[in-house]
Symmetry: C2
Subunit: 280 residues, 2 copies
């Protein structure tokens, strides 16, 4: 579990609920109400927030960065800056570390999670983000690709429309913000149950989390998250798995997984991912 | 559970494994090996089989009926007849009942399950099918729409690409061959996890069974089925469900279901649906 101390900074005075990390399933509402983005904005300090946007996952970082810039400026954030990092080692330059040091919130956009990881993974920049979250000085939100990267193991890509099988999912190393989680996004929207199941068959020590579009796992500092937004979060918990044929299977042969525990969580539900129980 | 006595008819002498009912997830292989169709052909008596094809679900019953006619004739069935029933009360005419009385196997094709149910549901014809299965005189296979109809409650249609919600699934009355089962087909292929979950939220007394394409739940006469084919069967068992918001939810609001037991079964796996345990 990410260790997070209470967020006691003066900038949090206006915040009713504080979420240190928000993992969003993509396609969050950006026009009507902006529920999830507003929750992030408030968590980051509301009108006293300094927000950094990391658009690196996108192949159009300027366009995507500017869109979120307009949204958070429109909400009244004190300062919004786009961290348009283009090269792998660039993020450790002082110009980016200095901006990061002043941020109370960082928003990671969608795009390609591999590109994102290659640009900021293993950097001082990333270490600083983790440390400042742990110290309660910074809140982090990631959507789509920005959500995929939070686990130690990451779904880099894959297919849909097939029975669960090894070749349905490409797995690689993520950023390890929540090492025990294996996150998929655009979940029911893009038919990803089979690929999350396939990923869990490969890593039955992890907890599968499938997040629908415009839906957010809003992590608190006690090993739990709350569901925000308009869709569901599907938990695939292999803790009681009695059998899988994963090791014996070929790349394309259908997988068996017996005795998965699955929860479908809707907005307002809270889940304790450390103890693997639904709280409400 | 459907009560089935052992199939002792002389026509079964050539059968190594006998499946009284075969529920197929659609798009079964009709060209390369025809694994599932061959298992049905053998169950029905092999070269001594008299097979009746019910193409009523299809809007092109002649075309669909003829396709299966060619397949079973090609396998060497003694006799194949197409029961091209076009009107609701027509199936109780002697000409169809007489054909049925001679069949050792009945194959129900895909199409529209509502059309199929309206043509043969509640008929003497259907009662005769059930009785003859129970007596071990007849084997029944249904694919796609022919699979959807086996439960007491039937998924008539619905959508995909959304979070589980009430409006995602249209439920109505099926033929009740296995009253306790709620079957969906083309399962992972057509992104139907959310709709099966939504159906189970409405009927937590049922057992959800999602069957992939070219995959078959081959029921034996002891309350179990075996998985045949090339894909998986997903069991959604709400037996340990601790919470659903189904009754409080609006038609379109996302559903919660806490503590579902889910099994992903691959070919060769066997499941005891009466006691809700995986056998292998």
């Amino acid at each position: 579990m990410l260790k997070v101390t209470p967020f006691l900074d003066h900038k949090s005075m206006l915040i009713s609920t504080h979420y240190p990390v928000m993992v969003i399933g993509g396609a969050e509402d950006k026009v009507n109400g902006c529920g999830i983005l507003t929750a992030f904005f408030k968590s980051a300090g509301g009108k006293m927030a300094t927000i950094g946007i990391i658009p690196c996952a996108s192949q159009e970082p300027s366009v995507v960065g500017d869109r979120y810039y307009q949204i958070f400026k429109g909400m009244g954030a004190q300062q919004v800056q786009i961290l348009d990092i283009r090269q792998p080692k660039e993020c450790d330059q002082d110009r980016w570390l200095d901006i990061l040091a002043n941020c109370t919130g960082v928003f990671v956009t969608g795009g390609d999670q591999l590109r994102l990881r290659d640009l900021i993974g293993g950097s001082r920049f990333m270490t600083s983000i983790k440390e400042r979250i742990a110290q309660g000085e910074l809140v982090l939100a990631g959507t789509s690709a920005g959500a995929a990267i939070v686990g130690e193991r990451m779904i880099a890509g894959g297919s849909s429309g097939e029975s669960p099988n090894q070749s349905l999912v490409d797995l690689t190393t993520g950023l390890g913000i929540f090492p025990e989680l294996l996150v998929d996004q655009h979940f029911h929207n893009r038919n990803r149950m089979a690929r999350l199941i396939s990923a869990i068959a490969a890593h039955p020590d992890k907890l599968g989390i499938g997040i629908d579009e415009d839906t957010c796992a809003a992590f608190e500092n006690d090993g739990t998250f709350e569901v925000l937004g308009q869709g569901t979060i599907t938990i695939v918990d292999p803790g009681k798995l009695t059998h899988t044929n994963y090791r014996a299977a070929t790349q394309s042969s259908p997988l068996s997984l017996h005795n998965l525990t699955v929860h479908v969580l809707s907005p307002g539900d809270r889940y304790d991912y450390q103890n693997r129980v639904v709280l409400s």
